[in-house]
């Protein structure tokens, strides 16, 4: 029963070509650890340097997107004696790395607030439709501008993913309830 259930989960992942799967709360040390294992696996696969760096770069941006922006989170209030403003906060998401034919695919998913969906969809559609030269121009523009409201990074992560990917990025949203949607982003290298 136990072995059967867990093996079914593993088989479902295998059937989709998944080599790595992480579902749960993501922290920076998780990124470090999974990242090291990913580098080792890519080296064992004898992936060329550019593929290795691109898969890794996309993995980092996807993980950091979950860490920073997933709408599903757990808080732990610190004792009153410590820094009053500080909360330890961890965010939930899922990330898989797998193969599709000769390609690598990095997929990430997390909850987002439904009110953020139109803005995110518009931004991703724009990035998806751009040529490498247009992406380069937008990347430079974004690098020079102040981060958008609500952004905790330089606002460059999605563009970095699109630039490193060898095919247009794929994305999708599925409504979960009145408040949240599930957001999925796939990059192929």
């Amino acid at each position: 029963m136990l072995a059967g259930q867990l093996m079914d989960l593993r088989s479902a992942l295998h059937a989709q070509g998944v080599i790595f799967a992480y579902s749960g709360y993501v922290t920076e040390p998780v990124l470090s650890g999974v990242g090291e294992a990913l580098k080792q696996k890519l080296t064992i696969d004898d992936a060329d340097t550019k593929t290795l760096r691109s898969v890794f770069a996309i993995f980092v941006e996807q993980m950091q997107n979950i860490i920073r922006y997933s709408a599903e989170k757990a808080h732990q209030a610190l004792p009153p004696a410590s820094d009053a403003g500080a909360l330890t906060e961890i965010r939930y998401g899922i990330l898989t790395i797998g193969r599709e034919g000769d390609d690598y695919v990095v997929c990430a998913g997390n909850l987002v607030e439904r009110t953020d969906v139109p803005r995110l969809r518009e931004r991703l559609s724009k990035i998806r439709s751009m040529s490498k030269d247009e992406l380069k121009a937008l990347y430079k523009e974004q690098l020079r501008s102040d981060p958008e409201q609500g952004s905790k990074g330089a606002g460059l992560g999605l563009m970095e993913i699109a630039r490193r990917a060898t095919q247009p990025i794929d994305f999708d949203f599925a409504d979960v309830d009145d408040e949240y949607s599930f957001f999925a982003l796939k990059a192929t290298i």
């Binding site: 060329d48 340097t49 550019k50 770069a57 950091q64 430079k140 330089a154 460059l156 992560g157």
Partner: protein, 129 residues
Amino acid sequence: MRDKLNIEATSRTPAVVFDFANHHMKISGESYPEDVTEFYRPVFDALDTYLGKLGKGTCRFDFELIYLNSSSAKAVMMLMDKLEDAAKKGAAIEVYWFYDKEDDTMQELGGEFGEDLETAKFHLEKMPG
């Protein structure tokens, strides 16, 4: 001012060697820190202090980065801006961007940073070996 700023590399942060006495700065390795602001703050502070006193002196800055994430790219741009400002004030600044010939993404990124350097002199070169 200290003679040197020496930060050892970790798996997620680059080695930083600022040899102020010899006017030679170098950042090498990988850059995807857990907290970009925290990592680069002392680097910015040290460079600001040094460049503030450089006047019309000479300085060489080497970037030998294998990989940087998108938030580190912003930090690198800020370093470039500081160097360009010092050059505009009369310093002779030479910026070298070394890239791994196997990864043209880093070559392209270097070129993009270089485009914004008008007064500081920019060199785009393959990493030796």
